[in-house]
């Protein structure tokens, strides 16, 4: 109950800051449109909509990292978090309160991007729905990164870190180009990070290769669980004033 009350407050804080929200919804749609136009003038299929859409949707989730990180960071620097740390809420209530309001935003991002992709030629079938489910799971990974950043850094630092995060996570995700096009260390790093697996899981779901979803999605889930455990532990330490 307390987590729901806190989630409602966090939802209002996010949606009442519409510029960031519109940017988080609009930029991925714009990118998808631009890359589709580029594809039409390319002699080879680098940005086919069935390949591009899952990657861009995963890219859009990096804004969830920004939203959750900024909100938590702001609450910390304004002492709002101190006020609620003094209340009888548990660390679980806080974490859930920060996660829940971001899930409908993730769903909205998926819907906006999918509608754009359908407009740009993506065919609708049952695999699209499966991909939506896979994407919701992936969104938790990005929310987890935001919680971790927001717990460790201030809101101003989160802004700077987001700029680095959005670039690194997208380069290593295989959204714009496959990591094996560069190969070597770049490809090895990409395989170690969760981003390429997130995009691969979404692409596999959309293409109907359901068995190919399992391994990359498991890696994403593993990373997500790890991030949430670390964020919760750090959050508990923060609540006890230990760092």
């Amino acid at each position: 109950m307390k987590a729901i009350v806190f989630a409602t407050r966090n939802h209002k804080e996010i949606v009442r800051d519409p510029i960031t929200l519109i940017f988080g919804m609009g930029l991925p749609v714009l990118i998808m449109g631009l890359f589709s136009v580029m594809q039409k003038n390319m002699p080879f299929g680098l940005f086919e909509i069935s390949n591009l859409a899952p990657g861009v949707i995963v890219f859009s989730f990096s804004f969830l990292t920004l939203f959750s990180g900024m909100l938590l960071g702001k609450d910390k620097s304004s002492s709002f978090l101190m006020r609620i740390f003094a209340s009888p809420m548990s660390a679980g209530d806080y974490i859930l309160g920060y996660v829940l309001p971001l899930l409908p935003i993730a769903l909205l991002q998926i819907i906006f991007c999918l509608l754009t992709a359908l407009f740009l030629g993506l065919s609708f079938n049952i695999s699209v729905l499966l991909m939506v489910g896979v994407l919701i799971v992936i969104s938790l990974l990005y929310i987890g990164f935001g919680l971790l950043f927001g717990t460790i850094f201030t809101d101003k630092q989160v802004g700077g870190i987001f700029a680095i995060f959005v670039n690194l996570s997208t380069w290593f995700s295989g959204t714009w180009f496959e990591p094996d096009m560069i190969g070597g260390t770049f490809q090895s790093i990409a395989q170690l990070l969760p981003f390429v697996h997130a995009v691969n899981a979404a692409r596999a779901a959309l293409s109907g290769a359901y068995l190919d979803v399992c391994l990359p999605l498991s890696i994403v889930i593993g990373y997500t669980v790890f991030l949430f455990i670390i964020a919760t532990l750090l959050f508990k330490r923060k609540m006890r004033g230990q760092y």
Partner: protein, 241 residues
């Protein structure tokens, strides 16, 4: 007795921030904790609010130990932190409802309490304004009103009038004086005029230790000084220990 502090201590490695603090505060008392910057006031408040674990010692808040029954102790208290600590995109009413509900009030009960607090703190005309649009004075009022939403037995006010203009500060004093007797209040401030106006008793901390405790008259008598400011300066001289 609402607050019983016994040997409360906080160390950060070798640095002692609060050193064996012991004192009792009566039910309904308005107690002012004074001290220079880094005297240990805010650390003391944070320990009492369960935001920092004490290195040693304990405190009983309305019978609940801050070490052994922290959740129960937290239900009895509330704090208005140094910064205004409001949710900026929520309206005045929404901020108050939020605070009531995280302390377990139903929506109806929270609304009832919010209306009462808005009346007391003069916030009713601004109930639909987003907190970020309020002036500094109104934001401080909202901050204290939010802390009152849980009907705490003990209210901690950490420099509640910091940065407020004279009129806004006096307006808030008027409101706080109405709370006297109803709730035990522990105030930290650098404004001695505020203490003279509101406090029943004063504690002066210096380098983590309680240097003096009593009413303003008692402290002036003991130190043979003519004002609280002189008492404060005498007791917080750097070589006074």
């Amino acid at each position: 007795m609402t607050i019983e502090i016994k040997g409360l201590t906080k160390h950060y490695k070798e640095i002692v921030v609060v050193d064996q603090l012991s004192l009792c505060i009566e039910k309904g008392e308005f107690f002012a904790l004074l001290g220079q910057n880094a005297a240990g006031k805010t650390t003391t408040i944070k320990m009492l609010c369960g935001l920092l674990p004490p290195t040693d010692g304990d405190a009983m808040l309305d019978g609940e130990s801050i070490v052994h029954h922290q959740v129960a102790a937290k239900k009895k208290i509330n704090i208005s932190p140094q910064e205004t600590a409001v949710a900026p995109n929520l309206t005045v009413l929404e901020n108050l409802l939020f605070m009531g509900q995280i302390y377990g009030c139903s929506k109806i009960e929270a609304k009832k309490r919010a209306n009462a607090q808005m009346n007391l703190f003069g916030l009713t005309p601004r109930q639909s304004s987003k907190a970020k649009t309020l002036s500094g004075g109104y934001m401080r009022r909202l901050s204290v009103a939010m802390a009152m939403m849980s009907h705490p037995k003990i209210l901690f006010l950490d420099e509640p009038t910091l940065g407020m203009d004279v009129r806004a500060r006096r307006d808030l004093w008027k409101i706080l004086s109405q709370l006297k007797g109803e709730v035990t209040i522990v105030l930290t401030t650098h404004y001695l005029e505020e203490v003279e106006m509101l406090a029943d008793r004063v504690g002066i901390m210096h380098r983590g230790k309680m240097r003096a405790l009593g009413t303003i008259q008692q402290l002036m008598h003991e130190t043979k000084k003519h004002s609280l400011e002189e008492v404060f300066l005498e007791l917080t001289e750097e070589d006074s220990l």
